[in-house]
C-alpha cells in the first residue's frame, strides 16, 4: 500500500470518526474536537491529492498544500471563536448544551 493511499484512508477514517462525534456528543467542546478531526481528515485528502500531483521536479503539487495551510489557519480561528462562545456561555448560563429543550432554556425569550 503506498503512503498516499494510506493517508487517504486515514483521512476518510478521521472524517468518519469526526462525523460520529458531531452527531453523538452533546458537549459543544467535544463537537469542536470532532470538527477538528473532520477538518484534519479533509486536509489529509488535500495532502494526498498534493502528493499524487508530484511533477515537474516537485515532490508535491504546491497548490493544494498551500490550501491546507490556509485551511488550518481558518480552522484554528473557528476553534478559538467557538471556545470563546462556549466559555462565555458557561459563565453566563452555567449550561453549555446546544439543544434548548434539553436544558430547559427556551430560545423564544423576549426580543430586545
Amino acid at each position: 500500500m503506498n503512503p498516499s493511499l494510506l493517508a487517504g484512508l486515514v483521512g476518510a477514517a478521521l472524517v468518519g470518526l469526526g462525523l460520529y462525534g458531531l452527531i453523538a456528543h452533546p458537549h459543544p467542546l467535544r463537537k469542536l474536537l470532532a470538527f477538528n478531526l473532520v477538518g484534519s481528515g479533509v486536509f489529509l485528502v488535500f495532502g494526498v491529492v498534493a502528493r499524487r500531483g508530484a511533477a515537474a521536479g516537485y515532490a508535491f503539487d504546491p497548490v493544494p498544500q498551500a490550501m491546507v495551510i490556509t485551511g488550518i489557519v481558518v480552522a484554528f480561528a473557528a476553534s478559538a471563536l467557538a471556545v470563546a462562545l462556549i466559555l462565555r456561555l458557561a459563565v453566563a448560563g452555567g449550561d453549555v448544551s446546544l439543544d434548548p429543550q434539553a436544558s430547559g432554556r427556551r430560545d423564544d425569550g423576549e426580543a430586545e
Binding site: L19, L22, I23, A24, P26, K31, L98, D99, Q101, A102
Partner: protein, 534 residues
C-alpha cells in the same frame, strides 16, 4: 379616445390611491373617490358601441381590452360604485381604513372588466377580492371576525387556484404571450386544457358562490354594512362572472365540460333557494338569492360552452348586469324599509317588483334578463329547469319580502344606521332606475312586451309567490340551517387541520435537536449521491 378611456379607467382609482399615501390629501382623496369610476363609466358606455377594442403596452407587459359584455358590466358597475360611494361619503366620513379598503375594492371591481392580460387580470382580481375584508371584518363582533376570516380563506384559495390556472394557460400558449385573447385561443389545443378548465371553474366558482364553495357569501353579506353589501353583491361578484366569460373557451364546443358546469349551476340555483328559504334575516336571504342567480348564470354559460356558442357571453353579461342593479337596490331596500318603519303600499309594490324582477317578472329588467337567457335555455331539460328556477326564485324573493316586513327591532336599527340618508331618501328613484335601466341596453326590448312573453314571464312568478304564501299559511316550519350551511363542516375540518399544528411543532423540535440535524446532514449527502447515481 377609447384607448385613453381604458387607461383612465385604471389610472383614476390608482391616482386616488396614490393620493391616500400623502397624509394631508388622504381625507380629500377618499371623499372625492366617487369620481374615480367616472372614466370607467364613460369607457363602458363608449365601449358598448365601439367594442371590442384592445390596447397593448408591450413595454409594460400590459394589455387592456373591452368587449361588449365587459363594456356593459363595466358601465353598470361604475354607475353603482359612483352612486353608493358618493352617498356614503356625503352622509358620513368613514375612517381611512374603511376608505382605502373601499377604494382598493373599487379599483379591482372596475379593473376586472378591462384587464386584457393574465397578470393584470390577476392583480385586479386580487384587489376586488382581498381588500373587501376591510369593509366588514374589523369589528368587536366575533361573528363579523369569523365572517372575515372565512371570506379571506376562500378568497386566498380562489387566488391560488387561479394562479395555477393562469400558469397552465400561459404554458399552453406557444409564443409566450400573456394576453387573454391569445392564451384562450391556444387553450383548446393545449395539453393542460382539462386541468386549466377545472381550476378556472373552481377558482371563479368560489367568487360566485357555486356549491360547494358557497358558504362564505351569506356570512359576508350578513356581516357587511348595507352599502358594502350592495356593492359587493352587485359589482364585486360580477368579477367572477366576467372571469368565467373571459376564461371559458366559449367559441369551441366542449362537451362534457359544458354539461358538467350546467349541472353544477342548476344544482347551485336550486340549492341556494332551498337553503335560503330556511333563513330569516333579509341580508342572508339575499345572499342565498345571489348564490341561486349565479348558479343560473353558470348553468347558461355551461350550456353555451357545450354548444360552442359565443353568444352566451353577451347574454349572461346582460343577465349579470341586471342582477348587479337589482341586487344592490334590494340591499338598499332593507335600509329604506328599516328606516321607514312600515312600508307604504306604494313602496311595497316597488319592493316587490324589484324582488320579483330576479324571477323574471314581466315589465321589469328581470324579464329582459330572462329573455336574454332564453337562447341558452331554449328547450328540453334546460328550459324546464330554467322555468323551475324562476318559480324557485319567486318563492325565495317572496320569503324575502315577508321577512323584510318582519325585521326585528335590532336588525332594523342596524340597517337604518348603516344606510346613508341620501340613499334612503332617493330609494324609490333608485329602485325604479334599477327596474328600468336595463331596458335601454337590451337588444330587442320590444320583444319582451309581447303578450306571449308577458304570460311566459308571469305564470312562474305567480306560481312561486303563491307557493311561498301557501307555505307560510300552512305554518310548516323550515328546518334550522345555519347561515353559510356547509361552512360549518369546513370549519370543523379546518379545526381538525389546525390540531395538526402541534404535531408539526413537535416534529420541528425533534428535527432541530442537534443529533437529528447532524444526521440529516449526512442523510442529505447520501441521498444526493444515491439520486445522482441512479
Amino acid at each position: 379616445m377609447i384607448a385613453a378611456l381604458l387607461v383612465a379607467t385604471l389610472a383614476a382609482p390608482a391616482i386616488f390611491l396614490a393620493a391616500c399615501f400623502v397624509g394631508k390629501w388622504r381625507e380629500r382623496a377618499l371623499a372625492w373617490q366617487f369620481l374615480a369610476p367616472a372614466p370607467g363609466l364613460a369607457a363602458g358606455i363608449f365601449g358598448l358601441s365601439h367594442a371590442p377594442v384592445a390596447v397593448d403596452f408591450p413595454g409594460l407587459g400590459l394589455s387592456l381590452t373591452l368587449d361588449p359584455p365587459g363594456a356593459l358590466l363595466l358601465a353598470f358597475a361604475a354607475l353603482l360604485w359612483m352612486a353608493v360611494t358618493a352617498a356614503l361619503w356625503r352622509d358620513r366620513a368613514p375612517g381611512a381604513r374603511f376608505g382605502i379598503s373601499w377604494l382598493l375594492t373599487m379599483f379591482g371591481g372596475l379593473g376586472v372588466f378591462v384587464a386584457g392580460d393574465l397578470v393584470s387580470f390577476y392583480l385586479v382580481y386580487a384587489l376586488v377580492s382581498l381588500p373587501a375584508y376591510g369593509l366588514f371584518a374589523f369589528s368587536e363582533d366575533p361573528e363579523k371576525r369569523r365572517a372575515g376570516a372565512i371570506y379571506l380563506a376562500f378568497a386566498l384559495l380562489g387566488e391560488a387556484l387561479l394562479l395555477l390556472a393562469f400558469a397552465l394557460l400561459a404554458a399552453g400558449e406557444p409564443h409566450g404571450s400573456a394576453r387573454i385573447a391569445d392564451v384562450m385561443a391556444a387553450l383548446p389545443a393545449s395539453p393542460w386544457r382539462d386541468a386549466a378548465l377545472a381550476l378556472i371553474v373552481a377558482g371563479f366558482g368560489m367568487k360566485i358562490g357555486l356549491i360547494p364553495f358557497n358558504g362564505w357569501m351569506p356570512l359576508n353579506y350578513a356581516a357587511a354594512p348595507i352599502p358594502a353589501a350592495a356593492v359587493l353583491s352587485g359589482a364585486g361578484v360580477k368579477a367572477g362572472v366576467i372571469g368565467l366569460i373571459r376564461f371559458l373557451p366559449l367559441g369551441v364546443p366542449m362537451e362534457g365540460w359544458g354539461e358538467a358546469l350546467a349541472a353544477l349551476g342548476f344544482l347551485t340555483a336550486f340549492y341556494g333557494v332551498a337553503i335560503g328559504l330556511a333563513q330569516r334575516t333579509p341580508k342572508t336571504i339575499l345572499a342565498y338569492s345571489s348564490i341561486s342567480q349565479m348558479g343560473v348564470i353558470a348553468a347558461a354559460l355551461g350550456l353555451g360552452l357545450a354548444r360552442g356558442d359565443t353568444g352566451a357571453a353577451g347574454d349572461m353579461a346582460f343577465y349579470g348586469a341586471n342582477h348587479l342593479l337589482v341586487k344592490s337596490a334590494l340591499f338598499l331596500t332593507i335600509g329604506a324599509v328599516a328606516s321607514a318603519g312600515r312600508l307604504s303600499r306604494r313602496s311595497l309594490v316597488l319592493a316587490a317588483a324589484l324582488a320579483l324582477s330576479l324571477a323574471g317578472l314581466p315589465l321589469t329588467g328581470g324579464a329582459l334578463a330572462k329573455l336574454a337567457s332564453k337562447a341558452q335555455f331554449a328547450s328540453g331539460m334546460p328550459a324546464l329547469l330554467a322555468t323551475l328556477a324562476s318559480i324557485a326564485s319567486a318563492m325565495l324573493m317572496t320569503h324575502f319580502l315577508i321577512h323584510l316586513t318582519e325585521m326585528s327591532g335590532e336588525a332594523a336599527e342596524d340597517a337604518r344606521r348603516e344606510t346613508p340618508a341620501v340613499l334612503i331618501r332617493f330609494w324609490p328613484a333608485l329602485a325604479l332606475g334599477a327596474l328600468l335601466l336595463p331596458w335601454f341596453f337590451a337588444d330587442a326590448p320590444g320583444e319582451a312586451l309581447s303578450l306571449g312573453k308577458i304570460w311566459d314571464g308571469f305564470w312562474p312568478v305567480a306560481v312561486g309567490v303563491a307557493a311561498a304564501l301557501g307555505w307560510r299559511r300552512s305554518g310548516l316550519a323550515a328546518p334550522k340551517i345555519p347561515a353559510g350551511d356547509s361552512i360549518v363542516l369546513y370549519e370543523r375540518g379546518f379545526a381538525r387541520m389546525m390540531a395538526l399544528g402541534p404535531v408539526f411543532e413537535t416534529a420541528d423540535a425533534r428535527l432541530r435537536q442537534w443529533p437529528a440535524a447532524a444526521a440529516s446532514l449526512l442523510l442529505i449527502v447520501l441521498a444526493l449521491l444515491a439520486a445522482a447515481s441512479i
